[in-house]
Amino acid sequence: MINTVGLRTLLVKEIKRFLKVWQQTVISPLMTTALYFLVFGVALGGRIDRIHGVEYIEFVIPGLIMLAMITNSFLNAASSLFQSKINGTIVDLLVSPLGTFEVLAAYVAAATVRAFLVGALVYAVAASFTGPSVNNLFWALYFGLMVSVSFSLLGLIAAIWAEKFDHLSLFPNFILTPLTFLGGVFYSIDMLPAPWDVVSKLNPILYVVNGLRYGLLGTSDVPVMSAAAAAAALATALFVIAVLLLGRGYKLRA
């Protein structure tokens, strides 16, 4: 027995929530990413050699899309759940006949919608400079989806665990941004001296960045199948953690 009405309500509410402040949730991340693109792609790109046979300006696009999707899926889930913890409206959710899976599904789906919206806009801006390029639509969508699911789950886990805003901002500042920058957004790990090319392979974000790069440009530092497996493993691990925490009501139900 699934509370489909409840699931739909929560999903629509979560989408409305970010659309009500679309300047902040859609336009502002688009601006940030567009700036990276202008500086690293357009301004500096011409002075950097081709990587794996693609122009540098094209090379950075998948990484920037991933950066935007990671940040936005994380922030959407994390800030929504955390705010309702702080303002007390989490009670409405906790007393409702919604099970763990319905709650997860609604938050993850809403965050995925935002991540795809921002990702698509970043892609559109980039394509207006370089022309559209999709090598393999399936893999492009697959990695977009895996990333959105994984990082919205991480956002929920962070919001469940966090007791104040500082706790929450640890994640983007000290985990997501560094791992993304070191995950081959701006370079190929082939360009790194040993042992950093090997160490980089421990970074899960490397796989999703390269996976999307394969989907859009047909080039990648890692075989697409291993990237796909790594992305699925990341999503699964985060899913299991989120189910355990939410199922037990960790830090949510006294």
């Binding site: 027995m1 509370n3 009405v5 409840g6 739909r8 309500t9 929560l10 629509v12 509410k13 409305k16 929530r17 009500k20 402040v21 309702s84 303002n87 007390g88 409206t89 009670v91 409405d92 959710l93 906790l94 007393v95 409702s96 006949p97 919604l98 099970g99 009501g249 139900r253 006294a254």
Partner: protein, 322 residues
């Protein structure tokens, strides 16, 4: 049945059965092997000092806290294994007022309805808004509402799915007299429509006026559960205070039994039934001539204070002998 669209049918007519429920926070016992049965259609007032465990007990029932031990059934459904049924049947007005700054009162009610699994019904949301005098603020940002309005919105939110068992955790704390009377009226209307209601309050007047039964909880234990009328009758009586024209010294022998002198002219006599009261007045009148007279009834408040004091004495005694 029309009032409870889509809700699971009760498996048992008993709205609530709490069976030896314990809730610990670390080593601290907030609810201590507490058992309680609630009767269909009654208003039950749960009284107790700050920190007694009222909110914790309610949270265990509504799903905001997980009991450490014991079982809870709502209309025959288990609140753990069958939470989808019990949460659909229960409404909770939390002690702390909360609101979502992103949504208007109307939107908040529509969302609350949907989360409960009831297809959102705009007309029902509007009806609730007008029942709680919020129709003028239907589309305002919730943060612009006054404290009392937010509280009314919280009550309305708890009713969206027409709960059969409603918890009101200090619904009238910090609420003005007029709104308090309105809320009482609303509570009585809900009861008349068949809703079973459990409320906590620190206003004993509220319990006296509204409740069919009263329970007193202290340190996580139920000290007493009693019909309000039985309770009021058992503790019927009070104190009579009188001022006599003649100094008490001169008529000491003629005072009613148990009379206590307050000063040279004033005396207090406790009474337990109207006959005894009439006798005492008669005796005083013939003894020294009445110049003033006041009759005080024992109030629920006195009973409550006495119960708590006795319980504290006992537990001090226990500790002393341990």
């Amino acid at each position: 049945m029309a009032g409870f669209r889509d809700a699971p049918p009760p498996r048992d007519p008993e709205p609530l059965r709490v069976d030896r429920v314990t809730k610990r926070f670390g080593g601290f016992v907030a609810v201590d092997e507490l058992s309680l049965e609630i009767r269909p259609g009654e208003i039950f007032a749960l009284l107790g000092p700050n920190g007694a465990g009222k909110t914790t007990l309610i949270h265990c029932i509504a799903g905001l806290a997980r009991p450490t031990a014991g079982s809870i059934r709502v209309f025959g459904y288990d609140t753990g294994a069958e939470f989808r049924q019990t949460r659909r049947l229960v409404g909770l007005v939390p002690q702390e007022v909360s609101f979502d700054p992103f949504f208007t009162p109307h939107e908040s009610l529509m969302i609350a309805m949907g989360l409960m699994g009831v297809p959102p019904d705009s007309a029902r949301a509007d009806a609730l808004l007008s029942a709680f005098a919020l129709d003028r603020h239907r589309d305002a940002y919730t943060r612009t509402l006054s404290g009392g309005m937010k509280r009314r919105l919280n009550v309305a939110k708890a009713l969206v799915h027409r709960p059969r068992l409603l918890f009101l955790d200090e619904p009238t704390a910090g609420v003005d007299v007029e709104l308090r009377k309105d809320l009482w009226g609303e509570v009585e209307r809900l009861r008349d429509a068949g809703t079973t209601i459990i409320l906590t309050t620190h206003y004993l007047e509220e319990a006296e006026q509204l409740a069919d039964r009263i329970g007193v909880i202290h340190r996580g234990r139920l000290l007493m559960v009693e019909d309000r009328d039985v309770l009021m009758k058992r503790y019927q009586g009070g104190t009579l205070r009188a001022r006599l024209d003649v100094p008490l010294d001169e008529i000491a022998h003629a005072l009613p039994p148990g009379a206590q002198r307050i000063d040279r002219h004033q005396v207090a006599v406790s009474w337990s039934d109207p006959e005894a009261l009439a006798d005492a007045i008669q005796t005083l009148r013939s003894a020294g001539g009445l110049s003033d007279l006041a009759v005080e009834h024992t109030r629920l408040e006195d009973i409550f204070v006495e119960l708590i004091a006795n319980a504290d004495d006992e537990s001090n005694g226990e500790r002393g002998t341990a």
